[in-house]
Symmetry: C2
Subunit: 204 residues, 2 copies
């Protein structure tokens, strides 16, 4: 089965033994939150517990995040730009789907092999929680809307722009869900290409 899962900013790796000397408080808070959510569930995890495990105060937590769930979701603007900027920069003669594909091919840079284990933990947390699944869907929907805006700027008419953008995000989400499965050996670039090939085959 496909599972919805987090497509968020990466968590920087860190060493528990040197937490207090590690400057990346936001990264430590993300890592601590994912661990605690996986261990105890989202409901039973408090901001105090996240802050304690990350070695910072609750006050520091709230400098970076509005609530405990926000920790699972990175900066939406940066995430969106990851997909949208390459669409804007695609050659002017590119078809709508080729322009969208340029965005999808850039995204795997954020979802490299070193992040797969963390992403799986996050994905499991999100797929168990309807509120987080909804938020994840809203996040990807926002990316699709921005891609459609850029396609229209490139001269693509509606409904082609929105359908190309949403179909492209369908390819991404399907590839990402496969990437989170323990029995899937392929990495994101190959999964994205496979999905794009299937989209062309299905529609053609």
């Amino acid at each position: 089965m496909m599972t919805l899962a987090l497509m968020s900013d990466a968590v920087m790796p860190y060493d528990h033994g040197m937490v207090r000397w590690e400057p990346d408080a936001a990264g430590r808070l993300r890592r601590a939150a994912v661990e605690l959510f996986a261990e105890r569930g989202v409901e039973a995890t408090t901001v105090a517990a996240i802050a304690e495990r990350a070695g910072v105060t609750e006050r520091t937590f709230f400098r970076y995040f509005g609530d405990k769930r926000e920790v699972l979701f990175g900066d939406q603007d940066r995430f969106t730009a990851l997909f949208v900027d390459p669409v804007r920069g695609a050659p002017s003669g590119a078809s709508p789907l080729d322009a969208v594909a340029a965005g999808l091919r850039a995204a795997p840079a954020w979802f490299g092999p070193d992040r797969r284990a963390d992403s799986r933990i996050r994905g499991a947390v999100i797929s168990d929680n309807p509120g987080l699944r909804e938020r994840e869907l809203l996040k990807m929907d926002a990316v699709a809307r921005e891609i459609a805006v850029v396609l229209r700027e490139r001269g693509v008419a509606e409904p082609a722009a929105t359908i190309a953008a949403r179909s492209g995000i369908a390819v991404f989400s399907t590839a990402f869900a496969a990437w989170l499965r323990e029995d899937e050996p392929r990495e994101m670039p190959e999964l994205i290409e496979d999905g794009l090939r299937e989209l062309r085959a299905i529609a053609g």
Copy 2:
């Protein structure tokens, strides 16, 4: 701009003057809720006010709905079946996208011209409220997952099944958003066909 909007059970028309004699309490509650949400916003609307306008007690409200937001969302199982049953019933030789198209072509029966005005009010309520937009996305995601299940039963491999299902739902959502716009004269069947044509053109 596209707006996310409600794709829910229809509200039966009713006459304010004969509310107490109208047997369809659930339909009256839906209609009353949509009116009040549009007038006052979701937050400021109470279950008591919805029940009062519908001419029933709060106790009656809670026989049909768990909370005020649920009124905007019809029976998920029935809604999903609307799309999925025709996919299951498509000719065995149909391509994945042709099978999905059979589902999309059945859906407009629920979104006829007589329901367009109500659907616009609901759409405006939902697009103004991130929580409701998330719920709407989750609802359509559930439909896409079920379509993918049926495609796999029909022998379609992954990721083709999920990509065909999600691209089809992208066509439906795009058509539905267009249908809600005041400047869109076409009805759902034509909008769906237009979207399917665009999907084939984009991908091909």
